[in-house]
């Protein structure tokens, strides 16, 4: 699955702020680290402020800090500020299901949605920081190089 840009940017910002609880970070600082648009991130941070997840201070030495408890704040809490997750996200035509095929497909999509919501809801920002510190991806084997097909002679 893919997250919308705003959700990803919000998670980057929240994780940065949670990892630096003793200082305020500017939007530009976070945007530079992740190579993302500072303008877009500023809008995302304003939305996070309205959701009482971060707090911003203007002026020299100002910046953003996390006000939500990272041990309680889940990925779902952050993502839902920017996009619907799970059964709220809609399944296009399947939403108006009336045929057996559409209804059966909706059952399967609902199953996937339930897993998605449960996963996002079970992972807190504190757990994400632990995962980032553990770096399990560093232990797994590097992705296999794509096998080049032999040139076909005419």
């Amino acid at each position: 699955m893919k997250l919308q840009k705003a959700s990803s940017f919000a998670l980057f910002a929240v994780l940065e702020l949670a990892a630096n609880p003793t200082r305020q970070l500017s939007g530009v600082e976070i945007a530079e680290k992740y190579g993302i648009s500072a303008h877009h991130l500023a809008k995302v941070l304003r939305d996070l402020g309205r959701a009482a997840i971060v707090d911003g201070t203007r002026g020299v030495g100002g910046g953003y800090s996390l006000v939500a408890n990272p041990k309680r704040l889940t990925l779902l809490d952050v993502i839902q500020v920017f996009e619907p997750v799970g059964s709220d996200s809609g399944h296009g035509l399947v939403l108006k299901a009336s045929t057996d095929a559409e209804l059966a497909l909706r059952v399967i999509l609902d199953e996937l949605d339930d897993h998605t919501v449960a996963t996002f809801r079970s992972i807190t920002i504190a757990t994400m920081l632990k995962l980032m510190a553990r770096k399990p991806w560093a232990r797994s084997a590097p992705p296999a190089k794509p096998v080049r097909k032999a040139a076909v002679r005419a």
Binding site: T74, D114, H115, A118, T119, R121, S122, I123, T124, A126, T127, K130, L131, R134, P136
Partner: protein
Amino acid sequence: MAQIATMKPLAESIGAYAIRIRPASKSDLADIIRIDEEVSGLSKRNYWKDVFAQIRGRSQSPRFLLVAEDQNQIQGFILGEIRAWEFGETVCGWVLAIQVRPKTRLEGIGTRLFSAICEAFRQAGISNVRTIMARDNHLVLSFFRSQGMMAGPFIELEMSLDEGT
């Protein structure tokens, strides 16, 4: 069971509690039943009696029932088992239950219990631990995630046997 009998109690102060993790003894049965009932709202007296009977007996699947004790009061427990060839997988440690008294939660007792059972599994030569739980059990799901557990290689499936009848 050998692993239970030889495991050394581990004592550590956690917050306001001087927690000691040790293998459960028969005298802990009533506390374990009470905590489980308090948390789950279900009385499983016979189940826990069976668990104790299995721990004392010889089994091909070694079980670990550990308790977190604070000044002679049981604050929580964890039940695990080593199983081989379940679902076609090689030997693995399973966490079957973990409960902490609601009043003493957020004090790190669950973490200590989980660490202790992982260590017991490790000492038994196990390198993988698994569990399974209800998708809507956000509290426990978050707890296991916070311990580093991730989605495993299985998908659990079920079917109502009443369908179509």
